[in-house]
Amino acid sequence: MQTLRVLVVDDDPGMAELISEQLSAWDFEPAAAGGVDEALALLSTRSFDLVLSDLHMPRKNGFELLRLVQESWSGTPVILFSSFPSVEAQRQALEGGARRFLSKPFALAALREAVESEVRRIPPP
């Protein structure tokens, strides 16, 4: 079975590493980016099955990444997460096309459930 690639975007290297380690343990193939520009560079060079991104990052935030992914990689689902959740942020994320919006800190079980539910939507090759 093909290993699914997940792009993790977070300016906090510790959080990106933690999420990536968990994704590896769940048999996904993670790649980490420290910001939106780095994420776009990775998206331009290889395909990803899912993007997991923090909302609050310096320079460009998760909403901007969401918009750019929708424009150029519209088939790639995006899950946003944030330490600063609000009803407004969740509404903006979902209206912008995000599949999920997670509050950080989240239970690992919640992350796994979110990732696996998105993966189940991916049609078989």
């Binding site: 909302l55 944030s82 609000s86």
Partner: protein, 134 residues
């Protein structure tokens, strides 16, 4: 000098600010922003730490906390702390509209956008200026 002595010395200029975030990055950012404005800041890792600080400072504290910590569905420690200490002035960092980026939702609770530095300082000053029995 002990942490308590440092806190008490700094408190002469205003309330002790308790900074709570799951992110070490955000804690550093809060310490820098609030410290440069002259506030004493103590990072608190959990609600028990915050409760201890409140006891030591006789309630003369303002809590600055990420909204995510208050919305954890698997751990209500911060909600319990706020419920047990209704006098505790609280600034909730939350993704609200950038303009105006600050909103007072209760007499002793503000929400501010995480990038709104001036709003954060304004909210902390206002909470520090409000008497505890207000």
């Amino acid at each position: 000098m002990s942490q308590r002595s440092r806190d008490e010395r700094a408190m002469r200029n205003g309330p002790l600010v308790l900074a709570a975030s799951a992110s070490r990055y955000e804690i550093c950012s809060l310490e820098r922003t609030l410290g440069l404005a002259g506030f004493a800041v103590r990072a608190v890792a959990c609600a028990n730490d915050a409760g201890d600080a409140l006891s030591q400072c006789r309630g003369h504290c303002v809590l600055v906390i990420d909204s995510g910590l208050l919305e954890m569905d698997f751990d209500t420690q911060w909600q319990v702390l706020r419920a047990c200490n209704p006098e505790l002035g609280t600034v909730i960092r939350c993704w609200i509209e950038r303009d105006p980026g600050i909103r007072q939702i209760q007499p002793r609770t503000f929400v501010v956008h995480p990038d709104h530095r001036d709003g954060l300082l304004d909210a902390v000053r206002k909470l520090g200026a409000i008497p505890v029995d207000a």
